[in-house]
Amino acid sequence: MTKQLRSVDVVLVGFGWTGAIYAEKLTAAGLEVRAFERGPWRDTPGDFATTFAQDELRYYWRHGMFQEASQATLTFRNNGAQTALPMRHWGSFLPGNGVGGAGVHWNGQTYRFLPSDFEARSHNEDRYGPLPEHMTVQDYGVTYEELEPHFDYFEKICGICGQAGNLNGRTVDGGNPYEGPRSDDYPNPPMQMTFSQDRFAASARELGLNPFPVPSANMSRAYVNPLGLQLAPCTYCGFCEKHGCGNYSKSSPQTTIIPVLMQRPNFSLLTNSEVLRIEKSADGSRTTGVTYVDTSGDTYFQPAEMVVLCAYPLENTRLLLLSQIGEPYDPRTGEGVVGKNYCYQVMSSATVFFEEEFTNGFIGAGALGMVADDYNGDNFDHSGLGFIGGGYIACHTTNARPIESHPVPDGVPRWGSKWKRAVRENFLKTTSVGVHGASMAHRSNYLDLDPTYTDAHGRPLLRMTYDFTLNDRRLTQHLTPVAEQIARGMGGREVKVNDRRGSYDSVPYQTTHNTGGTIMGADPATSVVNRYCQSWDCPNLFVAGAGLFPQNAGYNPTGTVGALAYWSVDAIINQYLRQTGPLVQT
């Protein structure tokens, strides 16, 4: 039997970056906030202290901080003609689990999307004419200018280390000349670069490109954020992505927000408590709270005046579908919205093998890198190219964790003496130039509920139907040769090109940048939430995260995820609380 609890002002479903952001702002505004996290509590001293955090097997290969696939995974197929099968363990991407979510085990590369990325349909159609049929790219309904103060605040919360390229419209040397105007510089200077970045930058400049330091959430110096929380200088230990930082050097919900939140009497958090359903009023016009289950197997109804979905995009989408909120997307008619415009990221790279020089890749950090944006977004002329969007081209030194990172040149077998020798010869002498490509929405790529497979609670798994599109293929074919050209100019012995061919493969790790499914927009017929991330169907339901992206840009998502959360919570506090109801009239 479901037990009913005392009502609270706000329920947050999921407690990673966006949960912490909403909780901090809403409790500061005086509301009683209760957060639900299906995974465990996690903090620096108990869960990833320096004495045991650097464990590649435990955290990456045995999925120490990722969602338990045994509890809930998703099913996958490349197209609607195939039968989707469960991802029995994680591969291509790694959804987070536990307090802090993926914000614990991210790399910390923290970008702002370009102004044109928020207007991907109107901007590109204005410049190049109508987009192809079935390319369901849309505008966000919110502009870069509107988000700018929120980008700025998130960067200050995180203490992002970078070099401005556009301060209030003035171009600054050494930064990204293509970025949208910034109201303020980064709060901290860039990280110290290594040999690989120096070679990359020199080669890129030789080709007329404009390399700049990757905006980093790994600290270049000690920093105190606006909430009074202190971050320590990064030690370049090389155990960043897929690991927690034991040194308080990586911005995460734990290091930048949660300790302040835990002091507030009007905040509570339930861990190992999974929200099963968002409940609705009889007429379906409002949410009334959530039903959740804890580890004893007992279910509870937690009433609330407002619900915010702060889980991973895939789980936010599934919760809406399971709760029957919003029209599910139908790829045959193109109608419906929930599950629409699932997008990913189109990754490729060129590995450089040096003969004499050592890259010493173990001296690294998650966001240690130099990057060029000359082929990102609409920073170059796409006339006659047959695709829109682009990607950044970067040289990161994130790690030399040896199970994961032991590249060998072309032609080397994958086991035996020749392989082993090639690993030894090249382990300390490689680096890589990566292309981080945008992924444009297509009518046939979507998320829905699987008809066959269920989770530990008997609920349908989410089903992903996804393949790279013609736009993706043309994009990667255009950009990968640029990366190769930069790589060839870096002075190595040889270069191996790892291009993106064939269908999307769910097995090898690519990136945990899954977007769409709960997209935002200006029209309830084509989006799940309005420009303030408020449900078109239930005005007291808000959605956070990269699921809001109508398509994915050529950047890591977290900067934009943070800015959208601050933008949305600002609208809740300054508009919605004064007069509850739809913030956009239809």
Partner: protein, 245 residues
Amino acid sequence: MSLQTRRRVLQFMLLGSTAFAAPRGLFAAEYGRGKGMPWSPLKGETPYYGTNDDRFFSPAERETVAAICARLIPSDSDGPGASEADVVTFLDRQMAGFYGRGQHWYMQGPFGEGTATQGYQSEHPPAMLYRLALAELDSYCRTENGYPFVDLPAETQDEILTGLDEETIEFKGVSAKAFFDLILKNAVEGFFADPIYGGNRDMIAWRYIGFPGTRYDYRDFVGHGGAAVRLEPVSLMGRPGWNRS
């Protein structure tokens, strides 16, 4: 899995745990309400690293696995291989633990063959896949070569492993290719993982490739400028000199 089953699994995990205190990650708990950051000593979950008592393989299976690993990562004039690193002990412990049981994997049916892009679809968790495939390998070798795998010359062993890799040899009831891919992945894990897991003995594989292990501060070396940075490796349990007389 029903809730009741889930509860039983949780109870099983607790009872089966070697920890004397309940790992804090297992139960629902409330935090906040102005109480500040929780902290208590010794509440972190310990990794499953296995001990010498954690064995899954029979003696014959263990010999065969060791022989396979010795071909995947050979000991040769260039340096140590899976044998010196004791990769088989790593594998034995892994198969005896949650990984071998597929405890964190989604193992509900129905099971279909799937496309290559859909990944692992065997109905067997890793340990059972090893067991069934090793039996098939044994029977294949006896039929085709007259001897079990361990007694064949290295060149023949390599030919057979190539056959599994390239799918020219197939097993009954279990995918030879799935087994090959898994044991190759696991052998590389055992070679390069921290020595706490039983392989990479004395950090022999790290020393071979020049990886300094779990040192955590390289600030003095960031500006290396392409010169070699040679540092003695350190593991999560320190260095051999620290904990051995």
